[in-house]
């Protein structure tokens, strides 16, 4: 019997465009794009020159600091472009598919029998290593260390995210293989966080059930309640789909595709789909978006932690959702501060909408206010179910006071844990960005 952890704090934003439990068909994209920024802390070094042929499973990019961390192409074709931005930073690498699917041969690795070294080597070579995220700093896992524990969340509570049941359907063996493989890589345990009352038979791990609103599914919240990170300790984290892909690829099947939701108020019939990360958003949403005279926003990911990628953008390597919502920059709303607010969604009960029966809301991307100094207090705590004072930690991060940040728990958090704080904040503070910047700078200072 798994132990149950109930979380009282948190918030489920009731968004319009909830996905139906059916799989939509998606036209396969003609190319595959790798975006280095999808993996925090990854500095790309290109291994294949432009216009050279690429086989499926062939490494095309590796990390500068840890060359053994490789990104492999899941498709065969030709590397057509390396797009660079300011100071020659690699923005994306594009492989045009040839449709032949030539692949390097991959032996199956039995996670049960394999040694830690074999698992590590295979994960690195086959390009699934970057899925592991290391805390502190929320960065790509360092293959040279032995983490205290590995935490896997099988629960995504973010708005319009796919349900675990839809993700795991038919993938139970891969999930188990992935967890067994991960259990070799730590000196401690693999802890698995699931939704309450999930029927699940998993070995080589310890299961905890979580009940509550978002961010109950965030791995950081789960770590905080299972076994918090202390200074000097390092843990790795992964999500259900990361583990499933790891299990599948170790078994010799170089299939990186994931089950995502295509959702949001601008989608005609929101549904699930199986797609290859690195496909263009255009290919995923083609023919599925409402015709509109106003601007629309295409989000790679969910509305809280996703990126405004545009229709021409790319589905992130670990994204679970493509969300399309109205953009709102062309929406002139008169006297927003004075209207009764029946049509305005707000958690605070300063709008009358809070007293209406529950319904689903269409939210656009406006901030709906000007940026101010922090005024209201206590709102962040209501959506931050960790034993940490979010506002004080935020202020320490803003001032970059290393001692204070350490004391207040910076090593336990990732920017995503602050997403709801940013959502509810009346002062429209870019909380996630501040935390992300502080973590990045702190890593530089400390390592």
């Amino acid at each position: 019997m798994a132990s149950l952890i109930k979380l009282k704090k948190g918030l489920n934003i009731a968004l319009e465009g909830v996905p139906q439990q059916n799989m939509a068909s998606v036209k396969e994209d003609t190319s595959w794009t790798f975006v280095p920024d999808d993996f925090n802390g990854f500095t790309p070094k290109i291994l294949v020159r432009a216009d050279e042929p690429v086989a499926a499973g062939q490494p095309i990019v590796c990390d500068k600091l840890h060359p053994e961390i490789q990104i492999v192409s899941p498709v065969s074709g030709t590397l057509v472009a390396v797009n660079r931005g300011e100071r020659r930073k690699v923005l994306s690498v594009v492989v045009k598919k040839d449709g032949k699917c030539t692949s390097t041969s991959l032996p199956a690795i039995d996670a049960q029998k394999a040694s830690a070294e074999e698992v590590r080597k295979a994960m690195l070579e086959r390009g699934v290593w970057p899925f592991l995220v290391q805390r502190p700093y929320c960065t790509i896992a360092d293959p040279t260390i032995l983490p205290r524990d590995i935490f896997v969340t099988l629960l995504d509570t973010a708005p319009l995210a796919p349900s675990f049941e839809m993700i795991v359907k038919g993938q139970e063996a891969a999930l188990q293989a992935g967890i067994t493989a991960l259990s070799k890589l730590t000196s401690g345990k693999v802890y698995v966080g699931v939704a309450a009352r999930t029927q699940l038979n998993l070995k080589d791990c310890e299961i905890y059930e979580f009940e509550g609103a978002h961010p109950a599914g965030n791995v950081g919240v789960q770590i905080n309640h299972i076994k918090p990170i202390n200074k000097g300790e390092k843990v790795w984290t992964a999500t259900a789909q990361d583990v499933i892909v790891i299990g599948r690829v170790l078994a010799g099947n170089l299939d990186f595709s994931r089950v995502i939701t295509i959702a949001g108020s601008e989608i005609l019939s929101p549904a699930y789909a199986k797609v290859l990360p690195g496909s263009s958003i255009e290919s995923i949403v083609a023919g599925k978006v409402k015709q509109a005279e106003y601007l629309q926003r295409y989000i790679n990911g969910n509305v809280l932690t996703g990126e405004n990628a545009g229709r021409e953008g790319t589905l992130g390597a670990q994204a679970q959702t493509v969300t399309v919502i109205p953009d709102g920059s062309d929406n002139a709303e008169l006297f927003g501060w004075a209207t009764p607010g029946i049509t305005r969604y707000s958690v605070s009960r300063s709008s009358l909408s809070a007293f209406l029966p529950k319904k689903l809301w269409t939210l656009d991307a406006r901030l709906k206010g000007g940026r101010r100094a922090l005024i209201a207090s206590g709102d962040w705590e209501k959506v931050f179910p960790m034993d940490i004072y979010p506002e004080h930690l935020f202020k320490a991060a803003l001032a970059f006071d290393i001692d204070k940040m350490e004391e207040l728990g910076i090593y336990e958090v990732a920017p995503e844990d602050f997403a709801l704080c940013e959502f509810v904040d009346a002062s429209k503070t870019p909380v996630m960005q501040v935390i992300a910047d502080a973590l990045k700078r702190l890593k530089k200072e400390m390592e």
Binding site: G232, R297, L304, T323, N331, K368, R372, S377
Partner: protein, 392 residues
């Protein structure tokens, strides 16, 4: 409305934007533009893509709505006290109209002075105008006695905005509640205009309305004045009058009932902390009970909570989130501290019958310390946890 918005964006906005003719006055333009329209700034490429519709304008608006019952009652009461003092019969609307004419110039002066300074400083810093003063601008006249001259209010407002707020960086950075700083400034700089028996009820006319020939000032003792002089008798004093607010006092402070209606609005909307209000009343009640048990002729607990500015301070002043404690545990301690201190100052320092104002300012001063201790407990827990692991 899109047409108006498009017109403004196309023809007016460029004048104020960077490189425009009136670039310097962008803050003015932005203030009026965001007054008209919800800002259309959208979420950046990375970061939360949707936002709650609450913003600081909405918060302040809700606060002002919560103040309305106390203000309306205060206007009527000012009129009623005036006509009673000059022994004239007056109907409900006459009383109300008199109070309105008495209150309006004070609000206008406060807003012109306060917002004027805020706008200028925002323009100088090239920032958006923060809404904080919209609340202070009502709170300042709301806690002024009827006879306080307009020029002193203007002076106090300027002092509060500049020295209690802008020198710290503006709304959200101040340590002390600006409205109370304005009141405290007058209290110490012009004590005769702020306390005593002559200031709480106006004798003369309000903008030519009311009043009688030959009477310029009336002398009416407030209940707290009587407490200070030792002439207060808890047995004969009508607590219901104090609860309803039919007693002399500053504009919006007298009616505990109206203030409680405001408190309900604040609590339901979530704009102000119920923890602070509750603990403040609890602290005040506790201290009042102790004093009532040991002192002769001390007001009863109910009387203490209904008299003077206690309720107003607990609901509208102590709960200012910027100057109050910010952690939930801290809010309990802070509220209780303010409540206890308000009664202590009121009862033990007869020079300052208005203990609530000073208690909140004192609370503002210790709030960071309270938070520090609360947060330190969290830090200690984390350190202890790490030490346990290190030693294992």
């Amino acid at each position: 409305m899109n047409k108006l918005s498009q017109y403004i964006d196309k023809n007016v906005a460029p004048l104020f934007n960077k490189g425009g003719k009136w670039e310097k006055y962008w803050s003015f333009f932005d203030a009026f533009h965001s007054f008209l329209f919800v800002p259309t700034t959208t979420a950046p490429r990375r970061g939360v893509q949707v936002h709650d519709s609450v913003d600081s304008k909405r918060v302040i608006t809700t606060l002002i709505i919560a103040l309305i019952p106390a203000l309306l009652f205060g206007m009527w009461n000012e009129g009623y006290q005036h006509f009673t003092a000059i022994h004239q019969e007056a109907g409900f609307w006459e009383c109300f109209f008199y109070g309105l004419l008495l209150f309006l110039p004070k609000v206008i002066v406060t807003y012109i002075v306060g917002l004027g300074i805020e706008f200028c400083i925002a323009a100088y810093k090239h920032e958006e105008v923060a809404e904080g003063f919209l609340a202070s601008g009502i709170l300042i006249p709301a806690v002024m006695p009827a006879e306080t001259p307009l020029w002193t209010i203007a002076l106090a407002t300027a002092f509060a905005v500049v020295f209690a707020k802008e020198v710290f960086g503006g709304t959200g950075y101040n340590i002390f509640n600006p409205a109370l700083i304005a009141r405290a400034f007058l209290f110490f700089a012009y004590p005769t205009a702020m306390s005593g028996t002559d200031v709480f009820v106006r004798g003369g006319s309000a903008l030519g309305f009311g009043g009688i020939d030959g009477v310029d000032a009336v002398s009416v003792a407030t209940p707290l004045g009587m407490v200070a002089e030792g002439t207060f008798n808890p047995a004969t004093f009508n607590t219901w009058d104090a609860f309803l607010g039919i007693i002399p006092g500053s504009f919006a402070e007298t009616s505990t009932l109206a203030i409680l209606i405001g408190a309900c609005i604040l609590i339901v909307s979530g704009v102000a902390s119920w923890r602070i209000m509750l603990s403040c009343f609890a602290g005040g009640a506790l201290m009042s009970a102790i004093i009532y048990a040991f002192a002769d002729n001390a007001p009863t607990v109910a009387q203490q909570l209904c008299l003077g500015g206690f309720a107003f301070a607990a609901v509208f002043m102590a709960t200012d989130p910027v100057t109050a404690a910010r952690t939930n545990t801290g809010k309990w301690i802070y509220g209780c501290f303010v409540g206890v201190m308000a009664i202590v100052i009121r009862m033990f320092n007869t020079g300052y019958p208005e203990g609530a104002m000073l208690a909140v300012l004192l609370g503002n001063a210790v709030a960071p310390l309270i938070d520090y201790c609360v947060v330190q407990a969290n830090i200690n827990r984390r350190n202890k946890r790490a030490a346990l692991v290190a030693n294992a």
